[in-house]
Subunit: 319 residues, 2 copies
């Protein structure tokens, strides 16, 4: 509908996207898979789109938002239990040195730090801690609440996909419990469409307070890299038509979505090229979001690459 010639096109559904190859490809693909009676139309039941979150729907620099939350919680914990600060990984976290945290064998140091803020409490207590942090914290670079920092062009895309009867899922390495507290509010994506990293929870029926689920890091599922297709299979149970990412952690998800898919498919990478309005990074990031191999494969795979500086009119809702 959107792209069909001869139709009086109403308002531009993607006003934050500059005219160009990527915008045209998006609109053409949506027209092709939703045009009833066409050879390329895909039944609504199969219209599934998957989005990475950190660096794809919201920023991931200078630290992923969840790391900022974890470090803030860690500071509060160290005030209560000063002995915690003897752990070198806790020191690295308090210094915001995510490179040190990511360097360890099996991420043991990172897991120790995450355990302080993400395990041993009920799911309700954890949600309350995230809400409390959200209500007070501000992003160190943009000096705005984190909820104000979703990418406006991606919000428009989510909305356009919903209009075209797509079901949009987040497929992120971030913790599902962390994201679910607020992604319905900021993206309109309900909790059951958030696929993230998860640890087992344990059910207890308490005399006072009734049923609770206690968070743990047991059988941790880290939904990143080659695990993303497994997470998609486990939680969604269907191959997506469209996949959106921004790092090598999304490579397998894009491959799974687009290679030998019997349906039309679409892969897209955001390239962070805008040091002025957001950040510019790929191979050399000091945080997460390394992008090398996926970018290298993009031309052969037919994946679209967004140059955020060139392709986006604006990055955030207010600029």
């Amino acid at each position: 509908m959107v792209a069909s010639p001869g139709t009086a096109v109403a308002a531009d559904p993607l006003p934050s996207w500059r005219p160009g190859a990527v915008k045209q490809a998006l609109l053409s693909f949506l027209a092709a898979v939703t045009c009833e009676g066409s050879e390329t139309v895909v039944p609504e039941a199969e219209r599934v789109a998957v989005f990475d979150n950190d660096g794809t729907l919201w920023p991931e620099q200078p630290l992923p938002f969840q790391a900022a939350f974890a470090f803030a919680e860690l500071e509060r914990a160290v005030q209560r239990q000063p002995a915690l600060a003897e752990d070198p990984m806790v020191q690295a976290a308090l210094a915001g040195d995510i490179g040190a945290l990511l360097s360890g064998d099996q991420f043991e140091g990172l897991l120790r730090v995450i355990a302080v803020s993400h395990a041993g409490m009920s799911t309700e207590a954890f949600s309350a801690a995230v809400e409390a942090w959200l209500s007070a914290a501000r992003h160190p670079h943009f000096d705005r609440p984190y909820e104000a920092l979703t990418y406006a062009p991606m919000q428009e895309l989510l909305q356009l996909l919903r209009v075209h009867r797509f079901r949009c899922f987040i497929v992120s390495g971030g913790g599902a419990d962390f994201m679910r507290v607020w992604v319905e509010r900021v993206y309109g994506i309900p909790p059951e469409r958030v696929v993230g990293s998860t640890g087992r929870t344990h059910f207890e029926l308490r005399d006072e307070g009734g049923p609770v689920l206690i968070k743990s890091l047991e059988t941790l599922f880290v939904n990143d890299g080659a695990a993303k297709p497994a997470g998609i299979h486990q939680f969604i149970g269907r191959r997506p038509l469209m996949a959106f990412g921004n790092s090598d952690g999304d490579l397998a998800m894009l491959q799974y979505t687009t290679i030998n898919n019997p349906r039309p498919s679409f892969g897209l990478l955001l390239h962070h090229t805008d040091a002025e309005r957001e950040y510019a990074y790929d191979a050399e990031t000091r945080s997460t979001g390394r992008l090398v191999e996926a970018l290298r494969q993009a031309p052969d795979r037919g994946w679209h690459v967004v140059d955020m500086q060139r392709d986006w009119v604006r990055v955030f809702t207010n600029g």
Copy 2:
């Protein structure tokens, strides 16, 4: 709307349910949580209902359908590899002795049997095996294809809940991959609303054939008993308003749904009382579906109990 007095009520939305306390409670609850402007109305986003599957939406006697599939696959495997039959657990399975399979420590025997049919192949090969079995197999007692054996009263209930803007999820101890092959077809429930037992899958990008996911039984999550609330949290991320089950394996799910829920809530147990039209069992079942403790707690918890012989006009679509 449905139950409001003074309104001309159109057709009965639950014709397979006999008039009585349970039917009245269902209709009253739905009216209460969906009547706009009332004090009890619940926003659509929170209208989540969870259904056990085996014994709640379809039968589980004389064997759960998935066990029948696994045993049929095992027979085919033994024909190819006769040495398999030396395992006493394989012998028990071939004799249909699910009691022996369930008796072992940590279900090791059961897992060995399940591994033959449920691990080591791609997810696509597994789906094809389930489809092949479905197209030929007939239930040993009813002598009908398995797809014809869903409970008609529960199908009506699923439909009524959808009309009232509920999102209905299956929360079953059965394997998610097994159910997803056909539950969209038979219940209209899409794969992402099927919460079941899952093992890890491993992503491979093959030179020929492209991306595949290989099934394994690693980090097996058995979505039964106290794990059901954890499964609900992990996959749905929201406490349900309504829970439907038929065994002690559903006890924790009903507790999680109904105890201290700040929203109105509804718990229901099917009691298999109809030896003529289906099966009669509770404490003494030789297969799955033991129902003792949940039934004992039902009066105090306010859970509704369906006497299938008395409360259902018919069990299956054709009788």
